[in-house]
């Protein structure tokens, strides 16, 4: 057990699974490397997540592709339909927009349309979210959108430990999994075991516990929620359950409902824009099945209904933050 960044934790997960199962392979842009004058030149992914795989397994299992996202996803899904265990990398979640059909109309529906004849165990890894001033087309989350598609499973880790365990589960899963890596968290560190371990899907983590208010957050927002909770506890003595569902689909409804049953108050946080997102999804769940427990309006903390702006000050104003979460908690306690 050592302190590792999320990048390294994910890299370890890939190495474990490549070793365990010869059917696992990685396909995407710049994920591998190439030969130059007979020597291997390794790229290992633009964000360095696949480091060492090309050197160890070669081009046969670490496949650099043209800039052709639809073909990448098709190649992965077709191989999965023939028994392989592909991991496809799409550089930015926003770019799933150029291969959206291959994900939502094809992969998500094969098993169902074909009456259960097949599985399509593809993992699609991608970076997600804001915080790097990458502008409107490279900073979106997209995980709420994919959550709306039956047939897909969605994982969004908020820390290195979960990242490793969830990626291992994703690769072992029989169903297609979209795996979102918050790009600002690649360098964030925590304790991560050296060996392989799987974190089951549909089981929330609860990084903080408390009886006053329930906070549900996704991805990098979990960290802001934790900061807000710590601050509230220290300065005001307010105790929060902080719930990180980890997999928006399947969703651990029980943990959320149980928490709200105890606290009676709910704030949901996500950096995606507000309409038809995960914050609304969780609010709707509780407004139905947890209604009798509620003592206050359900508040959400989201990005505004705008694209992601590029300038530092603007992106900072765009993203949720602990201060806004604290304000929302104060509202539900008012």
């Amino acid at each position: 057990m050592t302190i590792k960044s999320m990048r390294d934790a994910l890299n370890e997960a890939l190495h474990h699974e490549f070793e365990r199962d010869p059917l696992v392979f990685l396909i995407g842009e710049d994920v591998g490397g190439f030969e130059k004058d007979g020597q291997p030149v390794e790229i290992g992914g633009v964000f360095g997540v696949s480091k060492g795989l090309y050197r160890k397994y070669g081009r046969k299992r670490v496949i650099d592709t043209p800039i052709s996202e639809a073909a990448i996803i098709g190649a992965a899904s077709g191989a999965a339909l023939c028994g392989m265990r592909p991991i496809a990398e799409i550089m930015f979640a926003d770019l799933t927009a150029v291969c959206f059909d291959q994900i939502v109309n094809q992969i998500a529906k094969f098993r169902y349309m074909f009456g259960g004849q097949c599985a399509c165990p593809v993992v699609i890894r991608m970076t997600t979210g804001g915080g790097r001033n990458a502008g409107a087309q490279h900073s979106q989350t997209f995980y709420p959108i994919f959550t709306s598609f039956p047939g897909l499973k969605i994982a969004v880790p908020s820390n290195a430990y979960d990242a490793k365990g969830l990626l291992i589960s994703a690769i072992r899963d029989e169903d297609p999994v979209l795996f979102f890596e918050p790009k600002v968290l690649y360098t964030e560190k925590c304790e991560v075991p050296d060996e392989a371990y799987a974190i089951p899907f549909g089981e929330a983590a609860m990084p903080r516990e408390g009886e006053d208010v329930t906070l549900v957050a996704f991805g990098q927002s979990v960290n802001w929620a934790v900061q807000a909770a710590d601050e509230l506890r220290k300065t005001r003595g307010i105790r929060c359950d902080v719930i990180d569902p980890r997999t928006p689909s399947p969703l651990d409804e029980e943990t959320i409902l149980e928490s709200v049953a105890a606290t009676g108050r709910l704030v949901v946080i996500d950096e995606s824009p507000p309409r038809c997102g995960l914050t609304a999804d969780i609010a709707a769940l509780v407004a139905d099945k947890g209604f009798r427990d509620l003592k206050a309006p359900i508040k959400t903390v989201t990005a505004p209904h705008t694209p992601v702006p590029q300038a530092r000050e603007l992106e900072r104003a765009y993203l949720p933050n602990p201060r806004r979460i604290i304000a929302a908690v104060e509202e539900v306690l008012a």
Binding site: F25, K60, R61, I63, T65, P66, S68, A70, A71, I72, I73, G74, A75, A76, S77, G78, A79, A80, L81, C82, G83, M84, P86, C99, D101, Q102, N105, Q106, F110, R111, Y112, M113, F114, G115, G116, Q117, C118, A119, P150, G151, K153, D173, E174, D175, P200, F201, G202, P250
Partner: protein
């Protein structure tokens, strides 16, 4: 091709044709739901290609998929049951006409999104390469479908990875109601594919033997590691784009003329009988047999077990956790 092969090919051609003729009749009685696209007129393409394939080879089809399914060996009754939406259908009624699949036959699905099959079939070919298989993957796409960008992405990737992949382009001159000439800047579809870096040939898709020869070459090349290629085959569409299409854009005479002059079945028959490879009696026996098979398929479809509402929830995930 020896006698048995020829008889088998004829049997298949006739099966494809009769399946569509019968589907059309039944569709008009209102029993078949959904958007149904008939393959009649284009049979020599599917059969000419698929006669080279085994169950291990994979194909991916289009919205106009019945012919490819049958050519790949899907059971006509199980297909008819699917058209009827029965739980005994190949996809338990979940898929219907545009999504028939039979994985046991290497038939990875008809696909209602134009052009979408090409990248997926590239993945099937990749699996063959990675596992050291000798099987190939074939995707079918229409002339209109060649204007979907991901077809080119698929072609390029197949070339880059030198995959055992065959792109079959079915050129019937129409994309729904729009003539290909209004939709395609370069009418030479083989040239467009060749520019992506692979062998590409165009053949008369009404001529079973021409398709069979060209497909055989492409498939053999792919099997021995020679990489992907494209086969463009032109053949008419005898019916409307979908059942219910009034075809205001072409005249009855035009269609009758197509039937008269570009029908792959009489062409096949003329050749094999002229050559003396098959007798009229043999052909008649096949016809009678196919007629029986179709009657049986429709009877089964009509009597097939119906889904119940709870079936909606099955087969979304292997396990939702």
């Amino acid at each position: 091709m020896d006698h048995d092969d020829l008889l088998g090919a004829y049997r298949r051609l006739r099966l494809l044709r009769e399946f569509e003729e019968r589907t059309r009749v039944e569709f008009q009685t209102g029993q078949i739901a959904g958007f149904t696209h008939l393959y009649a007129g284009m049979e020599a393409i599917a059969v000419g290609v698929c006669e080279h394939l085994t169950d291990e080879d994979r194909i991916i089809s289009t919205h106009r998929g019945h012919g490819h399914c049958l050519a790949k060996g899907c059971d006509p009754a199980a297909m008819m049951l699917e058209l009827w939406g029965s739980t005994d259908g190949l996809c338990r009624g979940k898929g219907g006409t545009m999504h028939i699949a039979d994985f046991s036959r290497g038939m990875l699905g008809a696909n209602a999104v134009v052009g979408a099959g090409a990248p997926i079939a590239v993945g099937a070919a990749l699996a063959s390469l990675m596992t050291g298989g000798t099987w190939v993957a074939v995707s079918f796409v229409g002339d209109g479908g060649t204007n979907i960008g991901s077809v080119y992405e698929a072609m390029n990737l197949a070339v880059v990875l030198q995959l055992p992949k065959i792109f079959v382009i079915e050129d019937n001159g129409w994309g729904e109601m729009t003539p290909i000439a209004n939709a395609t800047g370069n009418r030479d579809l083989a040239a467009r594919a060749a520019a992506m870096g692979m062998p590409a040939v165009a053949v008369d898709g009404v001529d079973f033997f021409a398709v069979h020869a060209a497909a055989g070459e492409a498939i053999a090349r792919a099997r021995r590691g020679g990489g992907p290629s494209t086969l463009v085959a032109s053949a008419p569409r005898f019916y409307g784009h979908h059942e219910g299409d009034p075809q205001l854009y072409r005249s009855r005479e035009e269609i009758a003329d197509l039937r008269r002059r570009e029908d792959c079945l009489p062409r096949f028959i003329e050749r094999v009988t002229t050559e003396g490879s098959l007798t009229a009696a043999e052909l008649a026996a096949v016809d009678a047999d196919i007629a029986r098979i179709m009657d049986d398929a429709v009877a089964k479809a009509k009597a097939g077990p119906r889904p119940v509402p709870g079936d909606v929830f099955d087969h979304v995930y292997a396990r939702y956790r």
